[in-house]
Amino acid sequence: MKHRGILVAVVGVLIGTLLAGAGVRWWMARARRPAPVTTAPHVDGGAPIPHVAVTLFDPAPDSDDLAPVQQEIPKVTDRSDHARLVVEAALERAVLPAVGLWPVGSLLRTCFLTPGGDVIIDLTGLPPQGLGGGTTAERLAVQALVSAVRTNIPGATSVRFLVDGQPATALGAHVDLRGPLAADRDTLHPGGR
């Protein structure tokens, strides 16, 4: 009986020591953790990836315009890479069912910024009939990407669309994509101008 009491006490001390050690390790790791707003978690054990806030666009809740939303994307120094990340984030957001601007499955094939300031957006995964009709839906879909470029990519002067590597004339039956597109200020919600 006496031995059993000693055994219980030893086990209790051991468990307490383990818990205290884990607590200290958690506290030290928490103290070293970078601010969540500006960095992402470590990837593959490497250095934390710095992020930057960009302005993307959702349909406005109370009008047929676009409204700005803030989102973070990885921060890169190359302007063309930055353009690709901005458009990628804008398209990924636009296909979310809650946003509903682009058909599910729409993907960015490639995107780059030319020295002249043209942002070339090459899309894939679109349905055969494009965006599915409706000038308003088509206008908002196109302008969500164009406005993201205009707002977040300094030096970008226009946007050109390709689909599966070929120049796109339209993504439906309405908006003409043959020329370089400038951001349509009329489409932006007052908060986004």
Binding site: P59, G132, G133, G134, T136, A173, H174, D176
Partner: protein, 266 residues
């Protein structure tokens, strides 16, 4: 000799350009359309003061949007491609009754691309081109008719006139609508007013965009989005004969006003 479609189109445009001088009068300020209280019902129809021969001598091209493989907006059993064809045929009858010669770009459920529609319009040397559509928005509360006119994507690459270097002006296919912009704006304002008296219209009834179906048309052109099929009430309304008749009457009234000389319109 093999003549490609773009070359043929350019020839048609160049020939059709001779009619540009016949474009309707410069824009006159139009009254602001009244927005009906309900977006799913029709207001009391305003009497249209249009003479039975008010459109005599005019050629009107009606373009029922979509068709064939391209169904356009679909809402339940409603299909935009069929609705636009129904309204085009109804409107064609009303316009013909007022003396106009009406050409439909398609008269059945066939696939047509935008260039083929423009070629059809330019072959007929129409005085006005109306592309008929129904709208969709990710915001299901969106309602009301909208009228769009063509706005060039960018004027930066417009070719400057150089009369000394050229003896024949070349008009780019995607630029031909530009020279009809004032008359198209005027027609859009007239349509906004006429539609606003008869059917629900959007809070912003007249918008400008680079529009694929209008860019190559050599006549004052507008694209009509007559109602939002993404709105359940509007979709039900759009399928009714009353709505379609109201739209056709509004088009007759607006085109008759556009046809009249400015002095007669006052």
């Amino acid at each position: 000799m093999h003549i490609t479609r773009p070359v043929l189109a350019l020839l048609l445009v160049t020939t059709g350009g001779l009619l540009a001088a016949q474009s309707p009068a410069p824009p006159q300020p139009a009254e602001t359309p009244s927005v009906p209280a309900s977006t799913s019902t029709l207001p009391p129809a305003a009497p249209a003061a249009v003479s039975a021969s008010g459109l005599a001598g005019w050629i009107v091209v009606l373009d029922p949007g979509h068709g064939g493989d391209d169904r356009g907006v679909q809402a339940g059993e409603l299909v935009e491609a069929q609705l636009t064809l129904d309204i085009a045929k109804r409107t064609a009858a009303a316009l013909s009754a007022h003396g106009a010669r009406v050409v439909l770009t398609r008269e059945s459920d066939i696939t047509m691309d935008a260039d083929a529609r423009a070629v059809r319009a330019n072959q007929t040397h129409g005085h006005a081109y109306l592309s008929l559509h129904f709208n969709r928005s990710p915001r299901t509360a969106a309602t009301g008719a909208e009228i769009y006119t063509h706005q060039p994507a960018s004027m930066d690459d417009a070719e400057p006139p150089d009369a000394q270097a050229r003896t024949l002006a070349l008009v780019r296919w995607d630029r031909v609508q530009d020279r009809h912009a004032p008359a198209a704006e005027h027609l859009a304002d007239l349509l906004a007013t006429a539609l606003g008296h008869r059917v629900p219209v959007s809070a912003t009834p007249h918008r400008r965009l680079p529009l694929r179906p209008l860019a190559g048309v050599d006549a004052p052109s507008v694209l009509l989005e007559l109602a939002y099929l993404s709105h359940p009430g509007q979709a039900a309304l759009a399928a009714t004969p009353e709505f379609q008749t109201a739209v056709s009457e509004a088009i007759v009234e607006a085109l008759s006003a556009a046809r009249r000389p400015p002095d007669a319109a006052r």
